[in-house]
Amino acid sequence: MKTVTFSSTKESKELAKQYAYSEWIVNRFLRYIPDVYKFLKSMDKRPQQYIRVNSLKISKMELKTRLTERGFELEDTIVEDVFIVKKAPHSIGATPEYLLGYYYIQDLSSCISVVAMDPKNDETNLDMCAAPGGKTTYIAQKMNNTGLLVAMEASKRRMNSIVFNLNRCGVMNTCVYNMDALMAPKLGLKYDKILLDAPCTCEGVIQKDIGRKTSRTPEDIEFCSTEQTKLVDTAVNLIKPGGSLVYATCSFAPEENELVVDHVLQKYDAEIIPIPYGSEGLTQFGDLKFDPQAKNTRRFYPHIHSTLGFYVAKIKIK
């Protein structure tokens, strides 16, 4: 599948120059991102900071009391376990409570993918691309440290980070494997729920890494989309009948998002379960037309949702 590109226009040239992006990216943004001027401006601002309470170790109220005593100002968000950090007298990653694993610094959109997954006690669940373990620890928390959570990570260098976070957060129901998620069938397990936060071009985290404004090419999107399709095929075949898959990326590119979900809808007996957060998914982009259910998938934009860029789809396999 070739990445969709558009002919250069005066507007795309000017915006690319003004905000220091590769023009082909801005030209694509102009076709599908709502209020693109506000969006480009927001991508140059520091992202909002969120923390997720680790209820395996502390209650939400107690954590709030302790951090308030230390001079932090926290406010509730649409996700029960997540606070927005309104004021921080010093780094939120350097408090005793952080070191004790009482919270995880995690973007709201990332937490929403786990909320959408809806893990329950005693299930057998899979997190396919797990490092550094933010979503893994949240899934374990939602499972109340019961049942079995399998976490996979292909990169050897990133294993330390996942071990570190799982230990810090007191996670006991998880087995971590240093393996490519495409090899997941080797374990011989079937899962109630799977989270696939797929490797992507990471357009959505430009706020954290501005190098991504110019470092990616249309070929990168093409490559990621192909890999994501392979991963999603692997995932679907590992789900128990009636189980579900949450597919997520931190990219805005429709080829990495709705196109991958469309592939699942065309190939398998599946349906999209709506998620009560975020903006609707796209049903078309350039010449691409997606299954109408793609609108039930969700997009997150920094200028609309105060989150990093993110995409989430919940797919029920019949």
Binding site: L100, T124, C175, L189
Partner: protein, 171 residues
């Protein structure tokens, strides 16, 4: 490689748990040994244990302690111990809490409370005023001979390690 505990290992651990009044707490917990340079003891759910014995994982559950000549508790092990026992503990001031997390030793005047069951050169749990284990220490004095103006507990391990290590990880 994860494996079941041998009878001897189970006996050594039971004795260790008993010393901390935690024999009952750990009696029915799922523990496995991970063989490596040292033998590490991990605690996990029953389902995770079953898989760990069947398909060797990189990590299963939480590291509780290491079995060397003596047993050395991990930071997570110390956290679990502190929540479930009232043996061999010292409680430090908020100011000392910050210093402990920087790896510093503890002066007697920083201790606001302690159990009376430890002697000289013994392992104790260092907790904050909420009872959270922020570190593991070795006593320099008997519980009833604590010296206010002297280092009383040597810091062996503290949770500031997480912050110091985090900088080296690829997240």
């Amino acid at each position: 490689m994860y494996r079941k505990l041998t009878r001897e290992e189970r006996t050594i651990l039971n004795r260790f748990f008993g010393k901390w009044d935690l024999f009952d707490y750990f009696q029915h917990k799922n523990l496995l040994v991970k063989e490596g340079k040292v033998r590490e003891i991990f605690m996990m759910t029953g389902d995770a244990k079953k898989l760990a014995l069947n398909k060797d994982p990189y990590l299963a559950g939480i590291k509780l302690c290491e079995l060397r000549k003596h047993i050395s508790l991990s930071l997570e092990g110390a956290y679990m111990f502190a929540k479930n026992t009232n043996k061999k503990k010292i409680v430090v001031t908020d100011q000392a809490e910050a210093l402990v997390l920087y790896g510093r030793d503890i002066f007697g005047q920083s201790i606001i409370n302690h159990t009376n069951d430890f002697g000289e050169n013994e392992i104790v749990l260092i907790t904050n005023r909420y009872g959270d284990a922020i570190g593991i220490g070795r006593t320099r004095y008997h519980a009833d001979k604590i010296q206010k103006r002297r280092v009383t507990v040597t810091n062996i391990a503290d949770r500031g390690w997480y912050l110091r290590e985090e900088a080296n990880f690829e997240m």
